[in-house]
Each structure stands twice: as structure tokens, then as C-alpha cells.
């Protein structure tokens, strides 16, 4: 499915974007971590395709691929905003922002075409626009908390759930509406998307909290849950000039922050598994979604297992 999704993304960009920037859009999507790079995970598009299969019980048709490409392009635009927000000023910043906005418009065009085949096109498009706004609110809160430097754990969780959970809800809800799921089913798919993407974000935050170099979340003072938990300890040493000393690393590892976030990640994994059980009971063909959740969990395994230091089971 990944190959078909990438092909659809290429086609949408090639047919819907202004010819003046098509090559630049394809180039940015080919960067490491982005959709057209061989290692790009395309998590949003793949979740959309699995939701479609769960609802219709057959391989994705063009409409489903268009819907998946639409949400993937919105996700890629969010990645660019994230990258620009996290980087020091650099000369390509304004060009990248223009490309991110172009991706949003191209994604919107693909969504309109996909929604035309949905049972309720206007409801599908309304969700496409409004639910993405929830994720934008999360991005805003995240940036605001980072600048304020004194986030609480509840605020950090709220930002995580809005930013990443919001994206998962947006992706799964759009795909479910396009595929023709009923009202209860749409709500369950949205919950599954929210819990799965929140799990993935917690694992990313765990991995990035104390990463080497200046790029770690701790060095940047981000308002992620492990960083906020660490900051609430008794006089935790703070990074100097954005560098993490060996002392800070040791203090972080023994602070309980990795274990704290690993427990939260397991709670969201359980929620997602419960959503899958409810969907199966309603008659949806969830085998692909089970594999999708397993792939998120298995990519998290190394990070979650690394959080077990200092434990007495």
C-alpha cells in the first residue's frame, strides 16, 4: 500500500500544484523523514487506507488513495512547520513555509475530489477542515508552552493530545467518512486514531528527550511530558548553552521521567486496543488496523524497553 500511496501523492502534487513549484514540492517531500523518502513512514496516509479497508472490506480504490494522499499532504505540511519552528533562522525558512502552505492547498484539492464520492461530501469536507484545526491548536499551545518555560504536566498532556491525537482523529475520521462508516463507527475510528497517534508522539518524546547533541528536547526546553516531569524534580541540573552534560543525562535517566512516559504510552496503547475490540464487535474488518497498531508498538519497543532502567519488577 505504501507504494500506491506515494504514487498518489506524486500524482496529486503533479496535477494540483502550480507548475512553478511542483519540482520544489516533490524535492521537499523527498527529504529524510518525509513521504517520498524511502524511509518516510507515511503514517497518516497508511492509517487512512487501513480505516478504508476496515470499513469496506476490500482493497483501496482511487477515492481512498486520494483521501489518504490528502491527509498525508496535510501531515507533511505540519512536519515542515515543526521543522521551521525547531530550527534556528536559516535562509530557506520563508521558502519552506511557502511550500508548506502550498502542500495544504494541494491536500485540500485532493480532499475535495475524494469527498465527492463520499455518502455525505459536505460532512466529510467539514471534518477535513475543522479537525485539522484541532491539531493546529495543539501546535500553537506547544509553541506557547515552550516559550513560557513553566508548563505543568496537565498542560503538556493537553498539547500532546491536541497536536498528535488531533491529527490521528482527523485522519481516521476523514477516511471513515469517505468510506461510508456509520455515526458510531466514525466516532470509534476517530478515538482509535487519536489514541494511536498520541501513543506514537509519547514514544517520540521519550526518544528525543535526551538525544545526543543540541537537538534534544531537554536542551531546547520543550514542553514535552518527559522534559516537564524532569523539570519538576528537586533542583535538576539545567542544560548550559543547549548542551547536555553527562551529569544531566544521568540525572534525567534516574529521575523516573522515562518510566513515567512509558507508563502513559502503555495506557494509550491499551486504549487503542480497546477501540479495536469495539470496532471488531461492530463488524469492521480490523485485521489491517491491528497490524498498523502493532507496527507503531514494535517501532516503540526499543524506546519503551530502554525506559526500564532502575526498575524492580
Amino acid at each position: 500500500m505504501l507504494g500506491s500511496l506515494r504514487e498518489q501523492v506524486r500524482e496529486v502534487v503533479s496535477t494540483c500544484a502550480s507548475p512553478a513549484i511542483r519540482a520544489d514540492l516533490l524535492k521537499v517531500l523527498g527529504r529524510p523523514g518525509y513521504a517520498l523518502h524511502p524511509d518516510g513512514s507515511c503514517r497518516a496516509g497508511l492509517l487512512a487506507l487501513e480505516v478504508d479497508q476496515a470499513v469496506r472490506g476490500e482493497p483501496p480504490r482511487r477515492t481512498a488513495l486520494l483521501a489518504a494522499a490528502a491527509v498525508e499532504l496535510q501531515m507533511e505540511a505540519a512536519f515542515i512547520f515543526d521543522e521551521v519552528a525547531d530550527s534556528a533562522p536559516y535562509e530557506h525558512r520563508s521558502e519552506d513555509l511557502a511550500l508548506a502552505i502550498a502542500l495544504l492547498t494541494v491536500g485540500g484539492a485532493a480532499a475535495a475530489e475524494a469527498a465527492a464520492a463520499a455518502p455525505d461530501p459536505s460532512a466529510a469536507l467539514r471534518h477535513f477542515s475543522m479537525a485539522y484545526g484541532e491539531a493546529c491548536a495543539g501546535q500553537f499551545l506547544d509553541a506557547m508552552l515552550q516559550r513560557r518555560r513553566e508548563a505543568t504536566l496537565d498542560e503538556a498532556l493537553q498539547a500532546t493530545c491536541l497536536k498528535s491525537g488531533g491529527l490521528g482523529k482527523y485522519v481516521a475520521g476523514f477516511a471513515a467518512r469517505i468510506a461510508g462508516a456509520d455515526g458510531d463507527g466514525v466516532l470509534l475510528f476517530e478515538r482509535l486514531g487519536s489514541h494511536t497517534f498520541t501513543l506514537a508522539q509519547l514514544v517520540d518524546d521519550l526518544r528525543d528527550a535526551c538525544a545526543r547533541g543540541q537537538g534534544s528536547d531537554l536542551a531546547q526546553g520543550k514542553a514535552t511530558l518527559p522534559v516537564v516531569f524532569y523539570g519538576q524534580g528537586i533542583n535538576p541540573p539545567a542544560p548550559l548553552d543547549g548542551m547536555l552534560s553527562a551529569d544531566i543525562r544521568r540525572t534525567y535517566e534516574s529521575s523516573g521521567a522515562p518510566l513515567y512516559v512509558a507508563i502513559l504510552a502503555h495506557a494509550y496503547l491499551s486504549r487503542a486496543q480497546e477501540d479495536l475490540s469495539l470496532l471488531a464487535r461492530q463488524g469492521y474488518a480490523v485485521a489491517g488496523l491491528v497490524r498498523f497498531l502493532e507496527s507503531v508498538d514494535s517501532s516503540a519497543a526499543e524506546t519503551l524497553n530502554a525506559a526500564r532502567g532502575g526498575l524492580v519488577a
Binding site: L153, I263, S270
Partner: protein, 63 residues
């Protein structure tokens, strides 16, 4: 989710040597009515056990 209560529980469950008992943490959370988080701790403990078993298996010397 009760993230502040979990943080408090984790600090309370810490032993003088700095180690944290997952079993004690699970009990503390259950008593505090935080069943979902208690189950998450149990799930994590199971994962830790599984990794230990794999690590002891001579078929997996690289773990």
C-alpha cells in the same frame, strides 16, 4: 488522564536506593482509584519480564 497523580505515585514508589518497584507502584495506583494507570504499569511489567526472558534465552545472545 491523571498525569499529575501518576507523577506523585512514581515519586512515592521510589526506594531509598533510587529503584522503583513496578508492583508497589501498581498497588499504589489501584488503591488511589487510578485503575487505567495501574493496568498500564502491569502491562509494562509484563513487557519487562518478557525482555528478561528473551535475554536469558541462549538463542538470543545479542540481547
Amino acid at each position: 488522564m491523571q498525569v499529575a497523580a501518576l507523577a506523585e505515585a512514581l515519586i512515592s514508589a521510589r526506594r531509598p536506593d533510587g529503584a522503583i518497584s513496578l508492583q508497589e507502584l501498581e498497588t499504589w495506583l489501584s488503591r488511589a482509584g487510578l485503575g487505567e494507570l495501574a493496568r498500564a504499569v502491569a502491562s509494562l511489567a509484563q513487557r519487562v519480564d518478557d525482555v528478561k526472558k528473551v535475554a536469558r534465552d541462549p538463542g538470543y545472545p545479542w540481547v
